[in-house]
Symmetry: D3
Subunit: 332 residues, 6 copies
């Protein structure tokens, strides 16, 4: 169908933006899903036209476009509780500031608003990101928490994100939340509830990334059909299940990525268990025509081998839809 | 093994025969399984030698051969009850005539006899087709039907097809029924019974097409072994199951092809669930050396991409059988 | 919870109503789901007060109540196409009349209206039944039918049933359609579409009978949750799957009930594959407090043994819901 | 084998201890696994001989014994981080004090030491409980945490529990950790690592409770064999999986117990998916001869119905082992 | 259906026959399947009328009958190769003699002939037993054996058993071979071949014992249907699979019965994985009306508990077949 | 990772060594795993320097190396009982001699010692092979054998192999036993026991060949992790399961390789069910850096097509491991 394929730069943040662009261009990607992080993209410079132009020039020099930018790490800090050393390591000094939790949350929210403005400047319609969650910490349900606490968590999400989404609306940009553990929406029913919590406003949609659906046994294909009008972006990250022996568990024992005793692990797109072909057919069926972004992560494989392989793999599903009707063909 | 690969022209009936031949030749097919339908092949011209020669010339010009012709649509009308607007759309005006059901059935039977003669003229030994069925309409068993009604249906099949098969015998041609819903034989035990109904006469065999076995959970490999002496032809059509969520049902809700809510769908050969390698090994084991025909149908993919891809896919199983004995190799 | 358990009299229509009542009373049933059929209940006598009283007296003498009546067989004829010998055998002479198909449909519709009036007289709030379908015959999709034909089928259903449902509304009675092959709604998505076809009017709901869900691989538990506000009645009929060997097919080869080569069969409630406990918990969760009716059918077991066994089996799931909060218990 | 069956009193903490004893005695239990919580048992009164005697008298009056006591809630607070409102609700005012987290942890540790002394006084050899964990909050691995943080968590566990276990050794009592989410050991490999962290000292063993193994897909039977020398106690709590539709997820969407959209739920022992018979055979194989304790929890069933049912269910597996050799029987 | 239930005495050979009869009678068995072994039954006394009468008297005193006798151990020695210490332990001194292998085989064959005569004297129509096999030792296919060796093994079986079966024919008794590892027929295709090897003569049929089908993944229900005319007797022995962890293997590692590391084990009838209800329905379908014999073996359970439990379990499937036609019931 | 890929010459023993080397070199293999058998390699010429050099020269001429030699067939005879015509066919006249079983075993043991010396001469560190077993013949457990007999079998293995392993130690060479039916270690628990039987001495390790794990349902990936320090060599042989229909059994009915009725069969590496990618990742995780050897066997495919295909297939898993940390990449 000549879909556009992009590479998400988050897992390449240790390389300069220009280097990532060079690699992606050589491998044949059509564009980048640029992480608003470190050297790649800086939301606080949204109104620096020269900076914006420089980013676009780098893309153009490498034959790339941009349809989506992402800000997972600062989105994470908007609702999170607690805010701690983990956030200090990822949000950058500007948002971290003195590290006072509520201050961090406020500054993270501010950056998300700026990210919408940045997107508008770049001509980008979609911002992918995380929301954070004040109640993720209670997911195990022990020590017990009452339903009131859970309800308050969804309310906190709405209270913190609605003002951000107002800015998105002003900018003509949509937020695509990546359904993911640690976030307000991490599975099917929590996605339903999160959408309800913000009144199903169009500014808030979803980034379909099936990697965490696999181990939670959420059907990634049905997810596309059921949330058809909210699939704003697609991240292709793959997961391999390694269950079945009764010793590797679904929570993976605090073991590091790449350890074979983990119950599941991220692998190069195409080497895992995601039903890619059915997923792509479902994306076609709902009329999704945005970019297909490769989020490449595999602790057991060199990314320089993996990223081009993933692109080649996914292109196998980029076939043209049928242009004839078989029933018509039967008629004489 | 250097098997011969053919393309079934039924799903290409909207294109002129010469155009289909051209495409198939370019893609590297060895021949065509020509549908006796529309412009492709006309059974009523069986004794028009110039016409016959013209068809053969078209094949030859494109480097193609023909081992099998097919007449599904008129075969369908031989036993069907009711005969209605659906048949009018597929049997052509000559068979439809005034649309009187019994008249349609008689003319369809007549065309099947002519198809045997046509095959003989073309030097073809096998005719693939449907039988129709007067009792398919009762498959749901409600409102209740007695076993007598079912028995009568198999008898009707025998009464209508035996005279046709007599002509096949006269012509030295065999009929290969495609086991398929809507037909007298649509699964394992109905195939057993249909074969019994015509006294297991050699003129009546089977076209192995696994696409409808998948959703009925019939084992396509065991089918080859169990009906080894009746596998007269092979059609490679693939099916993808999309069950598992408990909402998509096996009967597919009257939904059109390509709708992701269907419980199963046809897909380009090699992209579905048919166990092709085991099937080909079983075909080798029973000594099947006829053509391997691609029946290509996929409502989500352009057929111009799919037909050559399917050919390449199937050729992976066309390896030479073992020429050495491992036990011998062990001996010193 | 002290749910009420009833026996559906349809499979006992060869016995006089009083005899069935006697048996059910002795076995400990709380009531009957009376089939409007033969001697059991006659819709055309809906305004014969003595007749009504007589039926109620029979129940009372046997310690039974009635919450639901059923009229599957005449409902079937409302939309069916074709109308044929199968209907003649089940609708009774009054509806069959001269057998002219449209006349049969009209008289069947008339009886369905009378059934609503009869229910009102009996103090019953729910009528279970079938709808019939003009497009069931096309479920196999071959010979091909266009989507227009399918659309017209749902429209025909709406056109024929809306006037009947108007009478139901007038009588304060609800119709509970049994999702079933041969009907307008036979699986998940066809149920969605049928509900839409009548504008989701409250007069039209569902009789949850999981027996045909099993072989279609429809999840009976999720069905309860998803159609929570339309589950008007519950029929407990059980099905045993006998697939797995690759020879028994899902369509069951026109084989009679009880034949071990069928891919599935009806069995005494509790001896099949329906997940009864999860189903009952789901019914509790949606607040269903109507009768639990045993629809007993098993071609391999004597019904006089089976019917009391089924009652005992189902009562195991009739436990009281929790009256304490475990979280509260943890507090000191 | 005449195993002893006990009822764990944790889920009955809202009832006075005497009332629980009365119920358990009437139902035929052999003893209680008494929760050190609220009115049931108070660790701070360990050296009050009259109090101890009073507890034993209550048991004796109801025909009960005690082999194990449990202190889950205070064990939880020993390592937990954060300490918050959830702990305030469960540890009691004495341990909570001013709520300063480190103070709470210290007082919880103190109570665990006293629990060992209490056990000694009661003539009990085993204390079941939780450990808490400072790193459970990082189980989702996002925002990222380094392996150093995980390592420090196991060290923190060892540092805090070794002094407690010293007191256990002094008292001749063993601690049986219940493998459970929110704890230092929650699956197979984290159990291996926790045992290593305390040098595999005999004072620290395991309470086998399979309920959280099911949804993590840990094999409860292999767990018994592999940790044979550390199975110090057995809690029979059952779990029902409700996955399979691709919408209910393994993390259960923050939904309350009893909600049918949860991916799994606790159910009355014997109504879930735990392979009880194989588990009991494995317990016999490793020579476990301690009590079999029913930890009853089911948000959809009244506990007064469930607790005696669970006892009857488990007794089916308390058969005598074989006393003859079949090979011997074959000899003539 | 009032089937007759018997207890196979083989696993009780360490007890005197009268004791076994006493136990079986008390438990409610209808008869015994008596092992021709040790004290239970002696084939060499077949013409000692007093002895015969004594056996029958013991049965009668305990309210028992006999429909079948068994001689597994001597049947084993007819074809076995090698003959070694294992046979010495089971065939008894008369057959063992000087232990010369061919002599043992001849005397074993002689005893099998006498067993037919004994059966005739007892009024018994069926003898259950093993055949032995000269090629079982080559089942692993390594070191390699040629197909000639395998062919010779089936021929050896035919050569040795045909003369025995001639005596069976003379006596009006049938031999029911128990399909079992170590025998000439141990799975589906080896059963087909063994039947062919003796020309499908009616004297040679099968004892359906599903216990070894489970781990070989042979479908016990389809086996009944496919070999319908050769099911001469039924032994109900149950097997529990303990695979799934990837460590327990299908060959069970030379581990003793009852070891939880075995991949499968025999368990008390009703506690394993055999699909008993479907099996009984299939037996009804093929018209089997012989005895249902309990072959009880469970290394983890006392046989005195297990044997009566197994009887009670199996009686649940002894329901009467349907006496009414549901289709008929639908008619008005 | 630039692993070295070798071809095992055992299945090519009918070709001269030079021919095999030529083929392997052309196909791109890095070396050979040379079978000590026939013309390929002769252990008895271990001290013939010219012979050794000649073998090395052949390798060098074809661009090949050798890291491993194998002696399965003579290893088989070390412990086997019985010794019979099968061994005569595979051990060669020098070891067979007069065929006296104990003499054969002794000479086989002698050759295994010489094989260690030969390895040393060739600069090879690993010898792959079989052990044979005196108790494999009792694996079916009928006629019964006591645990004493099994114990004696493991002792016999230790007694016969320890002197051989002493020579291995002297030569600085390790023996890698191929876990395989007919051997002392054929599954998971028998491997544990065999390792224990020789005191877990480092001279005795394992050749990981997953082909026989598949049908025994042993997890080949967990096997790598669990026996990490004993995986001395890797043979890539693939197996296709053909179960599922309930007629093909796991023991395969004495049917020859390639027969579609077998429950499983060897197939060209990459066309079977072995989870190759997970296996390779596990090999990387345990630090295995030895050769990857293709043991090619497929009775349905020409080896000249298969051997190069297998090499290409396996190279897909020879990717470089990750050289960056994703967590690091997230930091700004």
């Amino acid at each position: 169908m000549a879909r556009n394929f992009t590479l998400f730069t988050g897992q390449w943040a240790d390389l300069p933006f220009e280097k990532v662009a060079e690699l992606a261009g050589q491998w044949g990607y059509d564009g980048l899903e640029i992480a608003v992080s470190g050297d790649h993209l800086d939301a606080w410079r949204w109104d620096d036209d020269a900076y914006i132009q420089d980013r676009l020039d780098i893309l153009e020099r490498n034959g790339l476009k941009v349809w989506t930018i992402s800000n997972h790490l600062k989105g994470q800090a908007v609702c999170d509780n607690p805010i701690d050393f983990r956030h200090e390591a990822i949000v950058g000094p500007r948002v971290w500031g003195d590290g006072d939790p509520e201050g961090v949350r406020q500054r993270a929210a501010e950056e998300m608003k700026l990210t919408a403005k940045l997107a508008q400047k770049l001509g980008v319609k979609t911002v992918v990101g995380f929301t954070g969650s004040s109640i993720w910490q209670y997911v195990a349900m022990f020590p017990p928490v009452s339903q009131d606490v859970v309800d308050a968590g969804y309310q906190d999400f709405a209270d913190r994100w609605n003002p951000i989404l107002d800015v998105f609306d002003d900018c003509g940009v949509r937020f695509a939340h990546e359904v993911h553990p640690s976030e307000i929406a991490y599975d099917y029913w929590s996605t339903r509830r999160a959408l309800d919590a913000v009144g199903n406003r169009p500014a808030f949609g979803l980034n379909w990334d099936p990697s965490h659906f696999m181990w939670q046994q959420i059907d990634p294909v049905a997810f596309i059909s059921d949330f058809a009008d909210r699939i704003y972006h697609v991240d292709c990250k793959d997961t391999k299940m390694r269950m079945g022996g009764g010793r590797n568990g679904i929570l993976s024992s605090h073991l590091p990525w790449g350890d074979p005793r983990r119950g599941w692990d991220f692998v190069s797109t195409g080497r895992g268990d995601v039903p890619w072909e059915d997923s792509f057919r479902a994306l076609t069926a709902i009329g999704y025509d945005g970019p297909i972004s490769v989020e490449w992560e595999d602790a057991g494989m060199d990314r320089l081998e993996g990223a081009p392989e993933a692109l080649a793999f996914l292109k196998k599903f980029d076939f043209a839809p049928s242009s004839s009707s078989f029933d018509a063909a039967f008629k004489q």
